[in-house]
Subunit: 380 residues, 2 copies
DNA sequence: CCGTTAGTTAGTTAAAGTTACTAACAAACA
DNA sequence: TGTTTGTTAGTAACTTTAACTAACTAACGG
């Protein structure tokens, strides 16, 4: 945007956008602002290109001048969202309503240097932008690691074995536009809140089950990262101290023993001596009692972790997604809920809705778009 | 306040208050507002009684007119804070800086009716107000139960066996001033944040150990209540599933087995056949191996719960307070930390500060004051 | 040592711009 | 003719810039 919207201008844009088609007179009534100032703001916004006079409406039964109906121009600006994964990068270009205009995929597997990583991010962003670059509002990026959302700094990305990368500044100065960066799971939660299955939810816990397991938190309607940007690392949660305590030197940090792709694969290998992929494990659930038992133990663990999240945070919705969580959602939920029903009292459990991540593997990139949208355009 | 402060007026008041003594010229420089409008706002605020011209300052070495130093008038309005406990009620009257002007205690033990409870709250508030009633900004109340902070509704108070009490409205219409109500532990956390050991902390978990155990959460600098006003009920957290699962029908909800006054008393009775008060248990810790063992098991449990809080929320500070937690703080911390050091990696643990609740048994009432202060005067 | 002058700072006044409002009105329509 | 939309005109509130007065320090000359 060439200039920042004032509070009243934001309100008018918000109204035009949510109402779809609306006249100046109705805007005045709904915003509480006077008709002249609404006309004034509307003409500014038309000048900006943010809204247009779309069509002429109908008079009321009692007569009167026909209203000029205004409409939001969702493509007067664009946003780029990037999901930097350990195996692949997804970049999307969307309009202001989040409609995906273009999508680019890149392979990131094996990358271990800062230069190679930033280069591939540059390429992804460059290629996905098929519109006038001056119309790009910003780039929102989700990365698998510890980040500081305030300054776009990446502390640690185990997937690339990289430390201390000021990625926000690097990308921002390269393209000359605003860039925001946060943890991928957190960004995914934001995406589901704005465009997925958690619309109008203020307290959300998104559990991403992939190679590992992590949670993204939206609390009081805002991203929650914690004081050292480590909130939601539920892979380290403790639910069965005596058993865990006996079987290893330290629970806190024993990520892989959890319910996750990696965790299941290791358990199957250790206990059954089988080298199966996560997909193969799920394919053989009903065929092998031993595999099923390992899976059920995982589900119990997962249920205990979720019970603790419910206890501490009292969320309105819990979303399960991620590579494994999304693809195997119904299988997981089917076996997870019986455990939860034993652990959590029904009067509490019934108030919490469980959902599949509606956005699937676009969750993080869509969340990246939301990051920019909410900070540089409108917080809806 | 006779009128609501505008954003600029708030800024000026905030600056005068935090700087202590400041001239109009410095206010203009620090606020970014022009000198005339600062003078304008200052004269309004002097008229209101919120600030005064305190003294004449010194010129700089280079010469120039001496500045008139302005000062905040902390007692131009007053706030009432009320701690409604299961045994006693504490009401305090403070000025805008939180200085306690008056304090009243009432016995609430045995109260089981709505009328009796509201009557004693009325009395406490009435008696504590020793200043002109029109100078009272509002009343903030912490109650032991589930509440909706938005409308002052109390869903459930087990201590009084009461349900569905619109306490906020009852008290507000009786005194004709704003009233805010929230859960006592949550309010206590707010108190510690504004006036106690958690100043300038944005992510705080306060653990109140008394008859029972609960947590109050301040996340992103704001009170966090959860979607059904049940956040922080850590008495229900699960940390040792197999052991707990075997010994009872349901873990979730088995409050008393935890580390709490009640929990310890019951454990001592069950295992040792002794009818000891919590105080007697602590007094005999070093004399009885059996009591010590029960206490250490409690500490281990507490450590596991705290480890889970750290994992999920990554707080900056953890405060331990409450009837038991405050009085026995050093004893608890001494035996808690060794467990935590085993469970939580040192690089994570070192970033989290553990503190005693500085406000002691005034934590809730001071928090009630903060509730009103932050909503009706200034969010600092 | 004392009065004068230059330079600096505090706070006010005056003029002008911005943003909002109300009142009144023309255009369009049943 | 009455109703509704959207504009114009005039006004009020608030903020800014520019310029001012008042008050002070430091340094210099006699």
């Amino acid at each position: 945007m060439s200039y920042t919207l004032s509070a009243n201008e934001e309100n008018i844009v918000r109204l035009v956008r949510t109402r779809g088609l609306i006249s100046r007179a109705d805007l005045s009534r709904e915003s509480g602002l006077s008709k002249p100032i609404v006309s004034n703001i509307v003409s500014k916004l038309i000048n900006e290109g943010a809204i247009i006079e779309k069509e002429i409406g109908a008079s009321s039964e009692k007569g009167g001048k026909k209203p000029i109906l205004l409409s939001f121009v969702s493509n007067y600006k664009y946003i780029v969202g990037v999901d930097v994964g350990g195996n692949k990068l997804i970049a999307i270009l969307t309009d202001l309503d989040g409609n995906i205009i273009n999508k680019v995929r890149k392979v990131t597997k094996g990358i271990k240097s800062k230069n190679a990583l930033t280069e591939i991010i540059f390429q992804g962003i460059e290629e996905v932008i098929t519109v006038d670059k001056t119309k790009i509002l910003g780039v929102g990026i989700g990365v698998p690691g510890t980040t500081d959302i305030k300054n776009g700094f990446v502390y640690y990305m185990p997937a690339f074995e990289l430390n201390d990368l000021p990625l926000g500044e690097i990308v921002s100065s390269h393209f000359g536009i605003p860039v925001m960066i946060s943890n991928d799971v957190t960004v995914n939660a934001l995406g589901e809140m704005s465009k997925g299955s958690a619309k109008n939810i203020r307290d959300l816990c998104l559990i991403a089950i992939g190679t590992g397991t992590g949670a993204g938190l939206i609390l009081n309607g805002s991203i929650y990262c914690g004081s050292h940007n480590m909130a939601g690392e539920i892979g380290y949660m403790i639910t069965d101290w005596n058993r865990e305590n006996k079987s290893r030197n330290r629970t806190f940090g024993n990520y892989e023993s959890w319910f996750s792709g990696n965790g299941l694969e290791i358990k199957v290998k250790e206990k059954l001596g089988l080298n199966l992929t996560t997909k193969e494990i799920f394919d053989n659930l009903e065929k092998s009692r031993d595999i099923k038992e390992i899976f059920l133990q995982g589900c119990e663990h997962l249920a205990l972790g979720i019970a603790n999240i419910i206890t501490l945070l009292d969320p309105q919705m819990i979303i399960i997604t991620g590579g494994v969580g999304y693809n195997q959602y119904s299988m997981i939920l089917k076996h997870l809920m019986p455990f939860l029903e034993v652990i959590v009292p029904p009067e509490i459990l019934k108030n919490i809705s469980f959902n599949r991540g509606e956005l699937g593997d676009l969750g993080v990139s869509v969340g990246g778009v939301s990051l920019i949208h909410d900070s540089y355009f409108l917080k809806m």
